[in-house]
């Protein structure tokens, strides 16, 4: 069974937010909400500076607290790619998952259920990349099966330095940042 993940090269990313817009149109995310976003971290003092730009989203954790805390089973791990999804029909809007997510990846959709990145489940089922990956003009994002040693994402993780967000939270994120 595939285990989908994303590898994002922070050196190539220019923070243009195309990924954010593409997610918005592809997934009909209402204006005012976002399933992905850009974080820029600046270190140092003028003129000795370094900067990391990251496109962030749900980390589709291997150990997802949002799934274990969900009282109704709405938050679940999909059999396709082991992606973390929310079933709007089962969601009661209790927000336990929002509190449990250390990444701030979830929000309450105006229609009353919790929403977040799906790794574009509807696209990956058709063999396409998620919208954010497919539009990125810098080609900084790669998507694929982390369990397949021949995949681009596996190769990048073998050959490049990388980190995840808040590894100390124990969530085992599957979005990796190359540095």
């Amino acid at each position: 069974m595939a285990r989908y993940g994303m590898v994002i090269d922070t050196r190539q990313c220019v923070g243009c937010m195309d990924c954010v817009v593409a997610c918005q149109t592809e997934n009909d995310v209402p204006v005012g909400y976002a399933r992905d976003w850009i974080v820029t971290e600046v270190r140092g003092t003028f003129p000795d500076l370094a900067m990391e730009i990251r496109s962030e989203r749900c980390n589709h954790c291997d150990n997802p607290p949002c799934v274990s805390c969900c009282p109704t089973g709405a938050s679940h791990v999909s059999p396709v790619g082991q992606v973390v999804l929310v079933d709007p029909a089962k969601c009661i809007g209790c927000k336990a998952c929002i509190a449990s997510c250390p990444y701030g990846a979830r929000f309450v959709h105006p229609d009353g259920y919790v929403d977040k990145c799906t790794f574009c489940d509807h696209r990956t089922r058709e063999g396409k990349d998620p919208a954010c990956v497919s539009v990125c003009p810098t080609h900084c994002m790669s998507f694929g099966d982390l369990d397949d040693p021949a995949s681009r994402v596996s190769e990048l993780l073998r050959t490049r330095r990388h980190h995840t967000l808040l590894p100390e939270a124990g969530t085992r994120p599957r979005v990796f940042y190359l540095t």
Binding site: G15, C16, Q24, V31, V42, I53, V135, P137, T138
Partner: protein
């Protein structure tokens, strides 16, 4: 200080030296605040909000067309789900997008649904600029325009009606006005943007660079950016090549007073004192010559006047430049040695919006000379020579002859090296009535109040007019002063002229409607045709529908019209664009050589080799205002797009963090900016940051709009153009400077 979150939270910038002890709890608070706060849903469309996200309902159709969210004009493919525009993606066969659009292109859907759009023709009631309008029919609006035009023509001649425009959509209105006898047409893309660069390169190599710039970043081994903020400007294919260059780990050298995104990717960042770039470039010329690091073979074979050039730059040592620019002399040297070591596969990027200081043609010429020393003209990894395709013109009647000179620069006497008309020259003629009165302005898709310097002069010029027509999709600042506002359909709703592009290969792109205009908006060609009928020149538009015109041109060029309609883009064959693939170099200068020393400049009384003049110092307590772009906005025309406004609703004023502390400004606080002439901006948020020199402040331009009809963008942020009251005019070609103003802070009460 917590993370600096944008009002709508799609982006967040944290400066870690101030938040080094950030805790997870703190981070959660930031996240909660940023993701949840104020997130009252505003719906883009009913169908977008809460609709079924699945596209697998079989009702999706796609239409290829080329983008007009900016001037790069990428080929894209729009998807329509049911009867609603859904998304716009890159066309894989298009050389400008390679299948990937930038955020503005991706966000073009938002411009279709923008609730601020002009919906119907408007006639001014009340005083000009008071924004009292009557919504009228196209018949009434065009009858009014035609009647006023006829009156101006009868009293002053058709030359007294000028057109100021931006973008490919202006094509047919221009044509009809030319057929009517008008001769004065200008776009800010010349004197307010790339003009100095193209003239500087023409003086040196005999060719301007045009758009897209022929920089072979894809194959270069070293890229130098002087003020170019690739990645913040989203010149799509260029940014794609830039990102690939980063991936290839080539050395990148960035000269910028600001730690731009590009600077953060650079091997060397040179945080130069604004206004002193020419000093740096002259010292680099000097170093390459003195240390004999230039391409001697190229210079001997193709150059002329080299010895006189060497003598002229002898005094511009790196030590001297270090004092002028505030840069470390070692950094000046090491950067030059780095890029020189990669010649000819090294590029000093010519830039695009280069009208900074009023001596920009000479600075651009110095940049051209630096590229000449690298011998990179027509070389792989350098500046290639564009290839194009021939598409015959549609047979249209000739234009009437005029015995009057052009108003902006009569007989080239004001600005001898201007090779395109000058917007501010037309403004001057309107103000003075010399060489003859200008009584009508057609303003097509250019927001002159944000594009031209010194707003008061523009408004005073408008006071001289008997007719001002604004054709646009949005109620821009300038539309507020119109007599007649004509609402154009946006690019996804209309046909336009073909795009015949020059690049690594020639290409042709088609613009065609994807969805109908939502209200009474009409395409430019239709407006032009109706106007031609009313002006009594119907034969100037001898086709029923623009499709007849486009199809005729394509068929005459020998291409398949139906195939173009279904694929959107035709890409031409490979042609030699560098010496490596068989190109013979030639130069269009008077000497046929690369002119290191310019006799034609000398003949007109200008410096034959660029000379440095130091910038004016800032008044006590003031900071030099510099401006640039953000990736999600184009000029002042996208700020109300709901998708893009969600990413950046207002600009911020960047202030060095230490400076901010010393004058008591806090990050996120709102201030007004006051310039040296006492002009005060809208309130704008302070971004106290390490990413800028202490003597400069920075604004993304296009914000702080004044038209209340533009509800979403009205008074959001500060306008850099409003604060640009002082400007210098480039004596060679009439370019107007934008970085010649100083501001201080007025805290909000």
């Amino acid at each position: 200080m917590a993370g600096v979150a944008d009002a709508t939270t799609r982006r967040e910038e944290r400066e870690m030296q101030m938040t080094s002890n950030i805790t997870r709890r703190k981070f959660l608070q930031i996240s909660a605040a940023t993701l949840g706060a104020g997130a009252a849903a505003t719906t883009l469309t009913d169908s977008l909000l809460g609709s079924d996200a699945s596209a697998a309902d079989g009702s999706v159709r796609t239409v290829p067309t080329y983008c007009e969210m900016c001037f790069w004009r990428c080929g894209g493919i729009a998807s329509v789900r049911g009867d609603r525009l859904w998304k716009f993606e890159g066309n894989p066969i298009d050389p400008q997008s390679h299948g990937r659009l930038c955020p503005r292109g991706t966000g073009a859907v938002g411009s279709h649904y923008d609730p601020n759009r002009l919906r119907t023709p408007l006639l001014r009631k009340g005083e000009r600029g008071r924004e009292q309008w009557a919504a009228v029919s196209w018949d009434e609006a065009l009858a009014h325009v035609a009647e006023r035009m006829q009156k101006i023509k009868a009293e002053h001649g058709a030359e007294s009606i000028a057109m100021l425009n931006h973008g490919v959509g202006a094509r047919f209105l221009q044509h009809v006005l030319k057929s009517y006898g008008c001769t004065n047409f200008a776009g800010p893309s010349f004197a307010q943007c790339r003009g100095p660069r193209d003239v500087g390169f023409t003086l040196t190599f005999g060719y301007g660079l045009g758009s897209p710039e022929p920089t072979d970043i894809a194959n270069t081994d070293c890229l130098v950016l002087i003020g170019s903020h690739l990645g913040e400007n989203m010149h799509n294919s260029q940014v794609q090549e830039f990102a690939h260059a980063i991936e290839r780990r080539i050395p990148i050298i960035v000269v910028d007073p600001r730690y731009s995104v590009a600077a953060s990717k650079a091997k060397y960042w040179l945080p130069i004192k604004p206004g002193t770039d020419l000093a740096l470039v002259l010292s680099w010329l000097n170093l390459l010559v003195t240390e004999r690091r230039y391409d001697r073979e190229f210079v001997e074979r193709y150059g002329t006047g080299f010895d006189k050039f060497v003598a002229a730059i002898a005094g511009y040592t790196p030590e001297w430049a270090a004092r002028e620019t505030g840069l470390d002399v070692g950094l000046i040297r090491i950067a030059a040695r780095e890029f020189a070591s990669h010649r000819p596969a090294a590029i000093v990027h010519p830039g695009r919006r280069v009208n900074w200081n009023g001596d920009d043609t000479q600075r651009s010429r110095a940049v051209a000379l630096l590229n000449a020393l690298l011998g990179n003209w027509g070389r792989k990894g350098g500046l290639f020579v564009q290839a194009g395709l021939k598409v015959p013109a549609y047979p249209l009647p000739p234009y009437p002859e005029s015995d009057k000179p052009l108003a902006d620069n009569p007989n080239g006497e004001r600005y001898p090296f201007a090779d395109e008309p000058i917007t501010t020259g037309i403004r001057d003629a309107t103000l003075t009535g010399s060489p003859y009165p200008i009584k009508g302005w057609f303003v097509y898709s250019t927001n002159l109040l944000q594009a031209l310097p010194n707003r008061a002069e523009t408004l005073k010029a408008i006071d001289q007019l008997d007719l001002m027509v604004v054709v646009d999709t949005l109620p821009s600042d300038i539309a507020g002063y119109a007599d007649v506002v004509l609402p154009e359909s946006m690019f996804l709703e209309r046909h336009d002229e073909l795009l015949v592009g020059w690049g690594r290969r020639g290409w042709i792109s088609l613009r065609q409607p994807v969805v109908p205009a939502p209200q009474d908006q009409k395409p430019g060609w239709w407006i032009a045709k109706q106007l031609a009928n009313r002006l009594g020149i119907p034969k100037s538009m001898p086709f029923d529908h623009i499709e007849d015109y486009l199809a005729a041109r394509i068929r005459k060029a020998g291409y398949d019209w139906d195939k173009l309609k279904s694929e959107g883009v035709i890409v031409g064959p490979q042609a030699p664009i560098t010496v490596e693939d068989g190109l013979e170099l030639e130069f269009g200068t008077p000497s046929g050589k690369v002119e290191f020393w310019s006799d034609q400049l000398q003949a007109k009384g200008f410096d034959p080799v660029p000379k440095y003049t130091p910038p004016e110092p800032a008044p006590e307590g003031f900071f030099r205002l510099i401006s640039g772009r953000a990736p999600v906005h184009t000029f002042s025309r996208t700020q109300s797009n709901p998708l893009l406004a969600d990413l950046m609703a207002e600009n911020e004023v960047w202030v060095n963090a230490a400076t901010a502390r010393s004058i008591g400004l806090k990050n996120g606080q709102r201030v007004k900016l006051k310039n040296q002439d006492g002009v005060v901006s809208n309130p704008v948020k302070v971004k106290a940051t390490q990413r800028i020199r202490p003597d400069a402040v920075y604004l993304v331009y296009g914000f702080g709009q004044t038209n209340p009809m533009m509800a979403a963008a009205h008074r959001q942020g500060a306008s850099a153009a409003q604060l640009t009251t002082k400007y210098k005019t480039d004596p060679l070609m009439g370019g107007t400077s934008i970085h010649s103003n100083f501001v201080t802070f007025v805290p909000e009460a």
